[in-house]
C-alpha cells in the first residue's frame, strides 16, 4: 500500500515502529504532489528541499536513538495565514506576497518542537475572507471531487490537499466556517476548537473575537491526534484559556452513545437546503439514534440573524486589524507617491484585492460616527441573542447536529460576482463562531452528482471530547471515509 494512503495515526504508528523512514515519507508525498498539484493547486508554497533535508537529518538522528514524538516526521500542510519562520506566509495576498515571518506562530512552534515535517503552505481566500478560494491573489484551488467546483474556503487549499492526499493532515483557520465548510465540500474532517483552546499568536488576524486555528484531517481520530498537539494555554495570546488539555484520543474509546442527548434545530432544515443534503443529514441523525443517542428537536430562533451579525462584527474587526498594512515596515509598498497620505492610500489600493477592500469599507462604515450604534451596537446585541440560544439549547441537549452547509460544493464562478450570495452560503457555520463553541464537520454521504456532503456537530464550550467521541462513533459505523476522489 502506498504511504500516502495511511491516516496520520497509522503513519505515526508505522514511523514509530521504524517501518518507514522520514525520507521515504517525504519522497512519497512530494511525488504525489508533483502528480496531482497541477490539477488541484492547493499550495502557494512548497517546501520540498527543506523537508527532504530535514527528513535526512531526522533519519540519521533516529538511527542513533529511536525516540519519537507523536508528530515526528509527519508531513503536514499549513494554511498560508499562519506564520512560519523563514517560510513565506502570504495570506494569498499581494500585500504579503514577499513576507517571510521572523517568528513562528505558537501552533507552529509546538509542531516544530515535535519535529513535524512542513510540506508547504496552502492557498486561501485573501486574508481568509471568502468561501471558495476564488479570492486568492494567486488563483483558486480546485475541488478534488470535481475540478470544476470550488474546494470551499477560506481554508480551501488545506482541505483540497488533505482530500487529494497531498499531505497527511493540515491546519486551517475558522472565523465563520473556514475549516468546516471546505472540509464538508472536500469530504474530509474539519474541527473548529472552542474559542480560546488554541493559541492565535502568529495567525494573521482577521476577526480576533472569532478566529480559531484547527485541524483538517482524513478522519476523526486524526483530528483528535492533531488537536492534542496544538491545544493549550499560551501567554502570548491573552484570549487563550488556562486549563488542562484533556486526552482527546482516549475520549474516542467509548463508542456507545447512550446517555447522550442530541438536538436537531428546526431552523437548519428550511427550503434553502439542497434535498440531497437534507436526506443525507437525516439519515446520519438516524444512525446517531441507532448508536444509542437520544435525538430531539430543538430551536435556535436567532439563526437567521447570524450572517448579518457576522458581516458587521467580522468586517469591523477586520477593518481595524488590517490597518497595520500601511507599507512601512513590511509588506507591499506602492511606488512613486507624492506624500504620506497618497503613500498609504495607493499602497492599500494596490496591495489588497476586491473582497478585502469591500470588507474594509463595510467595517469602516459600520464603525463610523453616526452609524456605530445602528450597526455595530445592534449586531453586538443580537450576537448576545445568538449566544443565549445555545445556552438554552445546551441545557436540554449535549450536542447539536446540523448540515455543515446548505448545498454541496458549487461551481467555480457561480457566486463570485455576487458577494451577498456568497456570504449567505455560510449560514450554518457562522453562529458557532459568534458563540465561541467547538464544532466538527465530517462526511455523511454524497450528492447525486457525486459531491461530498458534510455533517456538523456542535458541542458545549471546551467539550471537544464529547464532540469527537460522537463524531468518531458515527464515522466508524459508516463507510463514507473510504471513498476517494477521482481528481477529474
Amino acid at each position: 500500500m502506498s504511504l500516502q494512503k495511511l491516516s496520520l495515526v497509522e503513519l505515526h504508528k508505522k514511523f514509530k515502529a521504524g517501518e518507514v523512514t522520514a525520507t521515504e515519507i517525504a519522497r512519497a508525498y512530494f511525488l504525489r504532489i508533483s502528480q496531482v498539484e497541477p490539477k488541484v493547486k492547493a499550495f502557494v508554497t512548497q517546501a520540498k528541499e527543506a523537508a527532504l533535508a530535514q527528513a535526512e537529518a531526522l533519519d540519521r538522528k533516529l538511527k542513533a536513538w529511536r525516540k519519537t514524538n507523536p508528530l515526528t516526521g509527519m508531513p503536514l500542510a499549513i494554511k498560508d495565514n499562519i506564520c512560519t519562520e523563514g517560510v513565506l506566509t502570504t495570506c494569498s495576498s499581494r500585500m504579503l506576497q514577499n513576507f517571510v515571518p521572523p517568528y513562528d506562530a505558537t501552533v507552529i512552534a509546538k509542531l516544530r518542537a515535535q519535529e513535524y515535517m512542513l510540506l508547504g503552505k496552502t492557498n486561501l481566500d485573501e486574508f481568509a475572507m471568502g468561501s471558495s478560494t476564488e479570492n486568492s491573489a494567486f488563483g483558486p484551488s480546485r475541488n478534488p471531487w470535481n475540478l470544476h467546483c470550488v474546494p470551499g474556503g477560506s481554508s480551501g487549499g488545506s482541505a483540497a490537499a488533505v482530500a487529494a492526499e497531498e499531505c497527511v493532515a493540515a491546519l486551517g483557520s475558522d472565523t465563520g466556517g473556514s475549516i468546516r465548510q471546505p472540509a464538508a465540500f472536500c469530504g474530509v474532517v474539519g474541527l473548529k476548537p472552542t474559542y480560546g483552546l488554541v493559541s492565535r499568536y502568529g495567525l494573521v488576524a482577521f476577526a480576533s473575537s472569532l478566529d480559531q486555528i484547527g485541524p483538517i484531517t482524513r478522519d476523526v481520530a486524526d483530528a483528535a491526534f492533531l488537536l492534542q498537539a496544538i491545544a493549550g494555554h499560551d501567554p502570548m495570546d491573552s484570549t487563550s484559556v488556562d486549563r488542562p488539555v484533556p486526552d482527546y484520543m482516549k475520549a474516542l474509546q467509548k463508542r456507545d452513545l447512550r446517555a447522550l442527548k442530541i438536538g436537531v434545530p428546526v431552523e437548519f432544515f428550511t427550503e434553502g437546503v439542497d434535498p440531497d443534503v437534507e436526506q443525507a443529514v437525516r439519515a446520519a441523525i438516524e444512525e446517531l439514534r441507532h448508536l444509542g443517542a437520544e435525538v430531539k428537536e430543538i430551536r435556535l430562533p436567532s439563526t437567521d440573524a447570524a450572517v448579518a451579525v457576522y458581516y458587521v462584527i467580522a468586517t469591523a474587526e477586520a477593518s481595524s486589524n488590517l490597518a497595520r498594512f500601511d507599507g512601512v515596515k513590511f509588506g507591499f509598498r506602492a511606488k512613486e507617491t507624492k506624500d504620506l497620505l497618497e503613500f498609504y492610500m495607493k499602497t492599500r489600493q494596490e496591495g489588497f484585492g476586491p473582497e478585502v477592500k469591500r470588507r474594509i469599507m463595510l467595517g469602516t462604515y459600520v464603525l463610523s460616527a453616526g452609524y456605530y450604534d445602528a450597526y455595530y451596537g445592534k449586531a453586538q446585541a443580537v450576537r448576545t441573542l445568538v449566544c443565549q440560544d445555545f445556552v438554552t439549547a445546551f441545557k436540554e441537549v449535549d450536542l447539536i447536529v446540523t448540515p455543515a452547509t446548505p448545498t454541496p460544493a458549487f461551481k467555480l464562478g457561480e457566486k463570485s460576482e455576487d458577494p451577498l450570495q456568497m456570504y449567505l452560503s455560510d449560514i450554518f457555520t457562522i453562529s458557532v463562531n459568534l458563540a465561541g463553541l467547538p464544532a466538527i464537520a465530517l462526511p455523511c454521504g454524497f450528492s447525486k452528482t457525486g459531491l461530498p456532503i458534510g455533517l456538523q456537530l456542535i458541542g458545549r464550550a471546551f467539550e471537544e471530547e464529547t464532540l469527537l467521541r460522537a463524531a468518531h462513533a458515527y464515522e466508524q459505523s459508516t463507510h463514507w471515509r473510504l471513498k476517494k476522489p477521482m481528481l477529474r
Binding site: 514577499n98 513576507f99 517571510v100 521572523p102 474559542y195 480560546g196 473575537s209 501567554p235 491573552s238 484559556v241 436567532s302 437567521d304 440573524a305 450572517v307 448579518a308 458581516y311 458587521v312 477593518s319 490597518a323 500601511d326 507599507g327 512601512v328 515596515k329 513590511f330 509588506g331 507591499f332 509598498r333 507617491t337 506624500d339 504620506l340 497620505l341 497618497e342 498609504y344 492610500m345 492599500r348 489600493q349 489588497f352 476586491p354 477592500k357 469591500r358 474594509i360 469599507m361 463595510l362 469602516t364 462604515y365 450597526y375 451596537g377 445592534k378 449586531a379 453586538q380 446585541a381 443580537v382 450576537r383 448576545t384 441573542l385 449566544c387 458577494p419 451577498l420 459568534l434 465561541g436
Partner: protein, 97 residues
C-alpha cells in the same frame, strides 16, 4: 439605507484606501445590498440586551514585567520594503516652509 458614491469616497478616505471610479460605483451598489440584509437585524428586539464583544468574559490578563529576548533589528528589518542602514525609509511627513 442607500450608500452613495460620496459615502464610498468618504469611507475610503477614513480607511486610507484609494478607490477608482469603477470601484466607487460597484462598492456603492454592493454595500447598499449588504446593508439592506444587515437591516433585517432590526426585527430582533434587543432592548435591555447587553452587547457581546467577546465570548471569553472580559478579564484583565497581567504578568510580571520582565526583560525577555525580542527580535534583533536585523530580523525586524528583513521584510522592510525600503531600508537604509538600521532604519525603515519612509516618506517625509513635515512640509518644508
Amino acid at each position: 439605507m442607500e450608500i452613495t458614491q460620496q459615502d464610498v469616497e468618504k469611507v475610503a478616505q477614513l480607511a486610507r484606501l484609494a478607490v477608482s471610479a469603477a470601484e466607487k460605483e460597484t462598492f456603492a451598489k454592493q454595500l447598499t445590498q449588504i446593508l439592506a440584509h444587515v437591516d433585517t437585524l432590526n426585527q430582533y428586539d434587543t432592548t435591555g440586551i447587553e452587547p457581546t464583544a467577546t465570548v471569553m468574559g472580559q478579564v484583565n490578563v497581567f504578568r510580571e514585567d520582565f526583560v525577555c529576548p525580542s527580535l534583533s533589528s536585523e530580523k525586524a528589518l528583513a521584510n522592510a520594503p525600503e531600508r537604509e542602514a538600521d532604519g525603515f525609509v519612509v516618506p517625509k511627513i513635515l512640509e518644508e516652509r
